[in-house]
């Protein structure tokens, strides 16, 4: 199905945010790998650091307040975090693209959709050495991109401002922007939050088709295990700035190991895929003074002595599963 060579490798990534009260130690050694051609899910409840992770990869964390305090991010063998400022654009063009979480805030409110989309297309073309493109050509390219995502009446949409569009339409615009060129890797941050279930389904399907057609690797970020179940090969479960478990999607659903994953699976509602954390007591910890050792221990039913003092590394379990929990190794 996919080759095994890693495209993106995040190793022990730590990120903190400096705020008035002190340092929010959000990411606490994240490890995540995406292979070529692979479709990967990243699941975790709100505030666990999913967006922060991909913004680190894209090098768009707002800094200040964000600071990367440790770790490496290899993209095809090059450490992205060590790139000089002027080298960064090279990984953005034709290599990594992204769809951000909130489709309203990811479109500029004071420019028309057409203006934003056409400028993005213009710069991608320039990257490929095509300098002069007529306005008409740009416009028709923009319209056909929108059409590809299943947008009705693209001509009118191009003349509209983001506030004139519904959530689903905005999301399609974001997808068009991200897929204007064939990229190697697409980071899709909850591409369907705030949409009703039918639209959600439509858009995900379309996105999946487009990605498949282009052979792009994708990271689907979501709250919902229901979404990843059908769309991904492999899943990462994230809790409070740590990857706590990863496995092939099928295995994860049939044989969850981490106490947090088990809790999650218990609460997957049959239809909607909403409401992730209902089966687990307590709340995600405060990042100012996060728990020592395993960050999950205040909520864990299987807590042991060692969990309070030591951070569990990822233990291999079988060929395709890894879990960060002392129940599975020392």
């Amino acid at each position: 199905m996919h080759t095994k060579s890693p495209l993106l490798e995040i190793k022990d990534l730590s990120v903190s945010f400096k705020v008035f009260e002190g340092d929010l130690k959000v990411l606490n050694g994240v490890n995540l790998t995406i292979n070529e051609g692979e479709k990967v899910g990243l699941v975790g409840e709100t505030g666990c650091g999913k967006t922060t992770t991909i913004k680190s990869v894209l090098r768009v964390l707002p800094s200040p307040p964000a600071r990367i305090t440790g770790g490496e991010i290899f993209y095809r063998g090059r450490d992205i975090l060590k790139l000089k400022k002027r080298e960064i654009p090279s990984i953005r063009r034709g290599e990594i693209s992204a769809i951000f979480q909130d489709p309203l805030t990811s479109l500029n409110p004071v420019f028309t959709i057409g203006y934003q989309l056409q400028e993005i297309i213009k710069h991608s073309l320039r990257q490929q050495g095509i300098e002069e493109v007529s306005k008409k050509e740009l416009k028709s390219r923009a319209a056909s991109l929108l059409k590809e995502t299943g947008m009705p009446d693209p001509e009118r949409i191009l003349k509209s401002y983001p506030i004139q569009l519904s959530g689903g339409m905005r999301q399609r615009v974001c997808i068009s922007e991200a897929l204007r060129v064939t990229v190697k890797l697409l980071l899709a941050d909850e591409p369907t939050t705030n949409l009703d279930v039918t639209i959600q389904d439509q858009i995900l399907r379309r996105l999946d088709e487009l990605v498949e057609k282009r052979g792009t690797s994708i990271l689907f970020i979501t709250h919902s295990l229901g979404v990843v179940r059908h769309l991904t090969h492999r899943v990462y479960i994230m809790y409070a700035g740590n990857i706590v478990e990863t496995a092939h999607t099928k295995e994860l659903f049939s044989n969850p190991l981490h106490p947090y994953t088990r809790g999650l699976l218990k609460t997957v509602p049959k239809l909607t895929g909403e409401g992730v954390s209902e089966g687990i007591q307590g709340r995600i910890p405060n990042y100012l003074n996060p728990p020592e050792g395993c960050r999950f221990h205040p909520r864990c039913g299987d807590k042991m002595e060692i969990c309070i003092n030591k951070k569990p590394p990822l233990f291999n379990q079988g060929e395709n599963q890894m879990v960060a929990c002392f129940l599975y190794g020392r």
Partner: protein, 376 residues
């Protein structure tokens, strides 16, 4: 040398490219005028302003007449006889009831006549014609200075937030906002004329020069029109210090407002989206980030303009600028009835026009406002 000029050239081209969005915004908005009925809006606002000015004239007309002291007596001085004073009263209809007085005044206003000054006996329109352009030139000049410098420092401080530049500009801003403009004027005059040894530049142009033929009443503009560049330069030299002393507080204030909206907006996802999708940093900052960030700044500019006019009086005094602000105070002190009404109306009308322009610019910048107005 060679290399330098090349760099300069490249930069210039880039600037014009960035300037493109202003053009885009304007043309696009004009193109949409019918759809958003912008013209209708402007028309309504103008009518609205006329009503406001009408109310204002009634109010000030009334106030000027109930202020203590007899205008005719003040105008003629204590030595005039009672008959002379009575004659003047009748001449300017002070013996008639208030509505009749107002009717006479309004009738002549519609003929473009604001009456005569009780004091100088000159037609007020003539006075305004002489003094108003001087002040407008000054105010406009300081407005432009505060716009340019305010935006540049605001954008830089916002982009390099929490850097030494941000800290320094914050400190300077606090000082700038807290210093009254006439203090700034005296300070600048001291530094430039006395310490740095430039010739004290007071008035609008040096007395040895002949002012250019009058077209707009703005000396710099008129001399440019007449092709007298030396006079224009001289005028510029004269205007720069008073304009700067008026501008400092607003550079500071507008800079801070722009800075804070840049800091707000730079964390928004759309900035990350533009960046990630390969839009060059230059256009991200000066186009996609600046346009939404300008909205709050432009909104406060209407008020800023009024403050500049109000502050102009003392600054005109310091630099011996033969302006409207000084004229206005003089007529108030002299209880020069018609002149007071005229002055207040002029200030009111200027304020109304400036605010209309501000509103139009804001709605060009912000489609959300434009779309709301359409009635959605």
């Amino acid at each position: 040398m060679n290399r330098r000029s090349r760099v300069g050239k490249v930069r210039k081209i880039k600037v014009t490219v960035e300037g493109g969005w202003v053009f885009h915004t304007l043309t696009f908005s004009l193109y949409n005028i019918q759809e958003y009925s912008m013209l209708k809006y402007i028309g309504l606002r103008l009518i609205h302003s006329l009503f406001v000015l009408f109310g204002l004239s009634l109010l000030i007309f009334f106030i000027a007449r109930v202020m203590p002291g007899d205008p005719a007596r003040v105008a003629l001085g204590p030595l005039a006889t009672e008959e002379q004073v009575q004659k003047l009263r009748e001449e300017i209809h002070l013996d008639k009831p208030f509505p009749v007085q107002y009717y006479y005044w309004l009738r002549s206003l519609l003929k473009g006549d604001l009456g005569r000054s009780l004091y100088t006996k000159r037609p007020i329109v003539k006075d305004l014609n002489e003094y108003l352009p001087a002040t407008l030139e000054l105010v406009l000049c300081s407005f432009i200075i505060s716009l340019v410098f305010g935006q540049v420092t605001g954008v830089l401080a916002g982009y390099f937030r929490n850097s030494w530049f941000d800290g320094l500009s914050r400190l300077v801003s606090y000082i700038g906002v807290a210093t009254p403009s006439f203090v700034m004027a005296i300070f600048l005059l001291l530094v430039f004329s006395h310490i740095l040894g430039f010739i004290p530049a007071v008035g609008r142009i040096s007395i040895i020069l002949r002012p250019p033929p009058r077209v707009t009443g703005f000396i710099i503009l008129d001399s440019l029109i007449a092709g007298q560049f030396k006079v224009a330069l001289n005028g510029l030299k004269h205007i720069i210090l008073p304009a700067l002393s008026l501008a400092v507080a607003h550079i500071a204030q507008e800079g801070r407002v722009t800075r804070s909206s840049i800091v707000d907006n730079i964390q928004k996802d759309y900035v990350a989206t533009h960046v990630v999708h390969g839009v060059p940093t230059r256009s991200v900052i000066f186009k996609y980030l600046l346009k939404p960030s300008l909205i709050p700044t432009v909104s406060i500019m209407g008020l800023d303009f009024a403050f500049i006019i109000a502050n102009a009086f003392l600054v005109e005094l310091v630099f011996m600028w033969p302006g409207f602000a000084r004229y206005a105070v003089t007529v108030m002190l002299n209880k020069d009835l018609n002149a007071i009404v005229a002055v207040v109306l002029i200030v009111g009308a200027t304020f109304a026009i400036v605010n209309l322009i501000v509103d139009i610019v804001v709605s060009f910048l912000d489609p959300r406002i434009r779309l709301q107005r359409r009635g959605g």
